[in-house]
Structures are given as structure tokens and as C-alpha cells.
Symmetry: C2
């Protein structure tokens, strides 16, 4: 009989609340014969305050022995900025070599959009997850004095760029429109930019059916709001991907709906699935958090583990639920989770 060993990191703020709904929908979606074993990890602000630890080696080691990780959200105003992000969230992405940070964006019918004219939006951003300015290569001198200098180094390797670019071509090739856009800033960041562009062009020769395109990151943001329908698959660096996917979420109904997967395609380490939103301490405990982004992240998780029909059922349930949402009658986190679970099992 089949089984899924799932590590769960609820994290901070609304992370706890949305993860509970994600697990509810996951259980509802799984076939009877699949055994779901979950193990919860107490990581985040509470743990850091209690012990000073962000991600101890023992937890990291233990996390390895799972098929996947479901993460809620990390971060709290009581913890200095960067401590949990670098010490926990990014540490996981780097330690488990999550080089494909997959972030689909789709404007569902009936979902409120800030864009006039409600363009047809259905694209996916393949964000590099293990290089760029996220590597933590930087430092400061004479910190806190008027003579301070602080540097941040963006590191890009042909090895790292090629594997994510190849993954993006594969995804583009498997989609009906077969279109791939590289986003960078190669007119200013000439060294990293030329590496990305050269690898992009070279790997592209192996995918003659994929139409390609290049945009500077600044120009890309313009198209996100004026012509988002032009995008199919986008591949980009870690920082540009971070910025673009929040904007993508905003134009497709908000970060309450944006799902993501931090994927290690080789399977050497567990992949990790999480909503794009943060811990939103301002609404934690109010029942206002929308668990949909986490539920859609569960669909990405299932799809990654090979449960494609179950993933599709969750996506369909979300589409149906969104189609019937009434902005005048908001539901609680729990009610939305229940409704989605009911649709998935029903």
C-alpha cells in the first residue's frame, strides 16, 4: 500500500491556520489506500524565542526523511528581520537544493482583480531558488558608523542557471502555447545577465518548438499590468522572481491565492510547498486568513508526488469555490477549508 510521509512546518502567524486547512483538503483528496503520515516541526518565532534556534541540524536531518514538506509561513515582528528568513526558510531552500521555485499565476473567474478589463492570465514563473543575491555572500565594514560599507554579492553559475532554465523549457514545451520568457537585467548586470542569456539561448536550441522572448525586469513589470496574457512560462533569477511573483499574485486576486513549490527535481531531498504570502501577524487569530493559497500549494505537492488526478481535483474545487464566492459574505479560514474539503471528497 502507498504512503506519503509529510513533514509539516506550520510556522508563524496565520501559517498555523492555513496549514490546518491544507491538511484537511489533502486528507479529503487522497485515495483511501494512501496512508498519510505527518510529522509536525515546531520551527519559527516561538522556537527562536524559547531556544535561540532557527533550524538545528537535528531537525534538518530529520526533515530529510520525508517525501515532501508543507510549510505555512515564517516571520514575526518580534524577531529581527532576516533571522528567520535566512536561518530557517532560505536555509531549507538551500540545504535541500530547491532550485526550481515554481509559482503559477492564474486569474480565476469571479476573482477580484485590480486590473481593468480582467485580462486572461495563466502563466507560471520558474524562479531560480539557490543562487543570485539570495546566497548570503555579503557583509559590512565599520557597521553602524558614517564610514560603513555594506555589500551583497549575487552569485550565478552556469551549472545553476542551466538546470533551472532547462526545467523551464521542459515546462514550456509541455504547455499548449509553448512560450518561454527570460527576465533579467542584462543591460546593467552584464556579467550575470550575459550568463543567463547565453545559457538560455544555448539550451533553447534543444527546444525548437518553444518560442522565446527576453525582457528586462523593469519592462516585465509593465507587461504584468498592461498585457499579462502575453506570458506563458517565465524563467528568472531568485530576486527578480521574488518581486515578479508578488506582483503576479496581486494581479490574479492577491496573495491569498498564490501557491508555490520549492522543488528539487532530482528527488535527492524533499521538495517544499508553501503559500507565497507571509505570516500576516495583523490578521492571525481572526479567522480572516484565506487558506486557498495553501490548498493550491497542496495541489502542487500532490502533482509533484505523482498524484495528478488528486491535484487536478483540488484545483477544480478551488475554481468552483472561487466562482461562487460572495465578497459581501466572507467566510472564515475554517469555513473555506471545509468547503474545499467537501468539494474535493464529494
Amino acid at each position: 500500500s502507498r504512503s506519503i510521509r509529510l513533514a509539516v512546518i506550520p510556522g508563524d502567524g496565520i501559517g498555523q491556520e492555513v496549514v490546518a486547512q491544507g491538511l484537511k483538503v489533502l486528507s479529503a483528496a487522497l485515495p483511501q489506500d494512501v496512508k498519510l503520515e505527518t510529522q509536525s516541526y515546531d520551527l519559527g518565532a516561538r522556537r527562536w524565542h524559547a531556544t535561540g534556534e532557527t533550524l538545528p541540524d537535528a531537525d534538518l536531518e530529520s526533515l530529510k526523511h520525508h517525501d515532501a514538506i508543507l510549510l505555512g509561513a515564517i516571520g514575526d515582528p518580534s524577531v529581527p528581520s532576516g533571522v528567520l528568513e535566512r536561518g530557517l526558510l532560505l536555509k531549507l531552500r538551500f540545504a535541500f537544493d530547491h532550485y526550481v521555485n515554481l509559482r503559477p499565476s492564474r486569474l480565476f473567474p469571479n476573482t477580484p482583480s485590480p486590473l481593468a478589463g480582467r485580462p486572461d492570465i495563466d502563466f507560471v514563473v520558474v524562479r531560480e531558488g539557490t543562487e543570485g543575491p539570495y546566497v548570503g555572500n555579503g557583509g559590512s565594514l565599520r557597521t553602524g558608523t558614517p564610514a560603513e560599507i555594506a555589500n551583497e554579492v549575487s552569485v550565478n553559475t552556469a551549472y545553476g542557471v542551466e538546470r533551472v532554465v532547462r526545467d523551464a523549457y521542459e515546462r514550456a514545451n509541455a504547455r499548449p502555447r509553448k512560450k518561454l520568457t527570460l527576465v533579467h537585467k542584462n543591460n546593467v548586470l552584464v556579467h550575470a545577465g550575459h550568463l543567463w542569456k547565453n545559457v538560455f539561448d544555448r539550451v533553447g536550441q534543444e527546444y525548437p518548438e518553444v518560442t522565446t522572448d527576453y525582457l528586462h525586469v523593469d519592462a516585465a513589470t509593465i507587461f504584468f499590468v498592461t498585457q499579462p496574457e502575453r506570458f506563458d512560462v517565465i524563467v528568472t533569477d531568485n530576486l527578480f522572481g521574488d518581486i515578479l511573483t508578488d506582483l503576479a499574485a496581486a494581479v490574479t486576486g492577491g496573495i491569498g491565492l498564490a501557491a508555490s513549490g520549492n522543488i528539487n527535481p532530482s528527488g535527492a531531498f524533499p521538495s517544499m510547498f508553501e503559500p507565497v504570502h507571509g505570516s500576516a501577524p495583523d490578521i492571525a487569530g481572526t479567522g480572516k486568513a484565506d487558506p486557498t493559497a495553501t490548498v493550491l500549494s497542496v495541489a502542487l505537492l500532490l502533482s509533484h508526488l505523482g498524484y495528478r488526478d488528486e491535484a487536478a481535483r483540488i484545483e477544480a474545487a478551488v475554481a468552483e469555490d472561487l466562482a461562487e464566492r460572495d465578497a459581501a459574505a466572507p467566510r472564515t479560514t475554517d469555513e473555506i477549508g471545509d468547503a474545499l474539503a467537501a468539494r474535493v471528497s464529494g
Copy 2:
């Protein structure tokens, strides 16, 4: 009698066309007793193809002896990406220490906006112009091979950050809402981010009337499309400012309207004014280029040189012209320039 010694760099593509209209409106706006002396510099793609030069020392030296520079646009597909940007445009910004890159955004009445609900947008981005990942500190090893590594270094100094942050506080303090938002990514780029945040907080103590706010750059893009009315003055780093100001232009009617000033507040070197848009080779020569961004850049130029009434007249002329624009009856570059010049002198 008064005079303005203006250096003009029309540059590439539509740069030539929009600069002609900018000069037309400038002449119309200036008081009779002000003598306008212009000197045109042949810099850009044509010059590079002819001589291999981007910005020779002699031109740089000669440019210094002007009160201001008006620039059209730089860049052409026939020139490798980065050559003109780094060798000419950024070289000017760095050589003339243009540390305040000023980019106002305002949604004029009747201007088409991609945002539903047409929010009230009126903010200004103060983008740092001489540091960050734009400094050109980077390089690659084993270039073009599968073992390539390409780095880009973002350099940030307390000296550089403080002067631009102080300028932004001054601007915020002079505006009715007195609100200043710092945008960075201090949860990931911890060294640069902490420097920015510390300087921002410290300088803020001198401006008790200014309300302050901090946003990560990814979150800022969300607010640009969902709540742009929340912004008054934004201060940010060179790269984040580049990205945010294109997005700001997009939500306020497009880059055809977005003006900018590369300002050296000390006056040691001439400041440079340019539309945010590029050379748009696809529409060069068609008469479709909108010169309004350049005309508004001329208003920034006049304001910088102390001709505030004349600047206000140009801004009013643009507002009136936009209010009467008819999307069904587009005018040529020249017609728009004529209409604006007529309003300004009339």
C-alpha cells in the same frame, strides 16, 4: 540677463523625436529675457558604430560646462546589451554623481490606467543613482564554459545612503502628506538592508513631522497595483527604484508620460533630465512616440534650475492636454509637441 546653457543628448530611436518636442516646449516656456544656449552631443548607437566610442573623455569634460543636460533615450538592438547603458547612460549618472534619481508618478484625469477604479495616484520615487548593483563591480570566470561563475556586487555606503535618504526626507517634509516609505529587501539582503534601515531611522529623527513606513520590495509591488494612493514619497535603492518606477509609470498611463531627473543636488555637476522610457526602435520614425514624458522632464529641469513658475506652467499644460486627449484620434509626436508649446506660451 539670464541664460541657460543646455547640453542635449538626443540619443537613439525615438530619443531624437521626443527631444525636439521637449526643446520646443522649453523655448515656449522660458521668459523672453532668458537666453537658451543649446549644444547637441552626438552620442549613442550611431557614434558607437562609427567610432567605437560611447562617451569619450572630451565629451564628458565638455558636458560639465553646462547648467543641465536633456537626454532622449539610449540603446539600439544593433549594439550589444550593456555597451551603451554602461558606457554612456550610467557613465554619465556616475561621473556627474547623480545620486538623486527623481521619478514622480501622477495619474492625470482622463489618462487611461490599467487599474480598475482609477485610484488617486500622486507619489514620487527618490531612487538612489550612484550605488547598489549598478556600480559595475562584478565579473565572470571561465566565461562561456559549463564551469562559468558570474558575480554582481551591490555596493552600499552610509555616505551614499544618507545623502539620498536625507534628500527624500526633505522632499517628504515639503509635501502636504509628509509621508516617506523606505523600500528594500532587508529580510534577505541583510547587510545592505540593515544599513538602509538604520540610516533611514536615524535621519528620520531629524524630521519628526514625517510619517515613515518600511516595505519589502516584493510587497511594494503589490501595493503599487492594489493601493497606490498610500504612497507619498518613496526612497529606495538603484535597482529596486528602476523596477518600481517602470511599474509606477505603467499604472499612471504608461512610460509615455513618465519623467525623470538625475540630480546632483550639490550643483558640482550638471543634472540630467530624461524620460523613463527607452529608445523604442520599433516605433522610431513613425511619429507615434509620445513626447509628453520628455516635456515633463523639461519641467523637472526648469524646476531644478529655479524656474518654478515656468515648470508649473508646463505641468498645467500637460494636464490640460491629457484631459482633452481622445484615444480615437491619436496625434503625432510633433502635433502633441505643438499643442503643448501653444498651451505653454498661450
